[in-house]
Symmetry: C2
Subunit: 131 residues, 2 copies
Amino acid sequence: MRIRIDPTLPTPLFEQLAGAVRSAIIDGRVIGGERLPAARRLAEGLGVNLHTVLRGYRLLRDEGLIELHRGRGAVVATRIGGHAALAGAVHDLVDEAKLHDLPESALLALVSEAYRSAPSAPGVLRTGPTR
Amino acid sequence: MRIRIDPTLPTPLFEQLAGAVRSAIIDGRVIGGERLPAARRLAEGLGVNLHTVLRGYRLLRDEGLIELHRGRGAVVATRIGGHAALAGAVHDLVDEAKLHDLPESALLALVSEAYRSAPSAPGVLRTGPTR
DNA sequence: CGACTTGTTCGACTATCGATAGAACAATAA
DNA sequence: TTATTGTTCTATCGATAGTCGAACAAGTCG
């Protein structure tokens, strides 16, 4: 998995990192159980601080995409499979938005608002960070 | 159009304001050509600063949803019609995300990444703020 | 056990952002 | 003209975000 970080972008480094890994997971390019690079090694390789990498990892953990264990490192969650339907829905939405010439920020705001005012998935115990 | 502002939420006030108006426009609850409240009056009514309201309006203008003119006020853009398909796509995506128990932040990041790495709409001259 | 690896926690610093404020300005409406 | 309305500029203040250094604790492995 190739990870690219650009310090000149307005997007925070830890978010860029998490975004790269997240996409790889959703697209199925990394399988459940696969181990990610150790934070310290990745940090050195990318030229960023240890905490920056760990913050990205922690973000993915809070999203339920990976697991973190001391001494064992970061591992992709096993329950994660290829979310083809999800990836498709994302693609469709982006197409529709660009058709209407709607900017990214507006699209994100719409999704955010819809997410908050929609009922949660049935039969699911919501736990962990709600933010 | 009812607008609610909650200073205790982490979401910035100007974003809350813009979000409320944006949803109303996309959902078709306000029609193209309709005039929005004057910034000074709305600010006083909501108990916020004039600049805060104007920032929200400016955001919507940059998104192409409204028009701003001195002395004339803020008016919903006429080219705006029923974005039923868009609203539907948003709804579908949120459903799919909740089905996979994917948090809001992760969903937004996915959409953002997809938006940036997707080709622009054909035959459309992109202008204005790119951010 | 003992050495090593790896994530965790505490604390701190700096830059940016959000909100407010006041004042003057320019275009439009009545 | 007079009143209205958005625009621009400058400035201040507090809170939040992003990055970083050092010490710590849980786990792995020979």
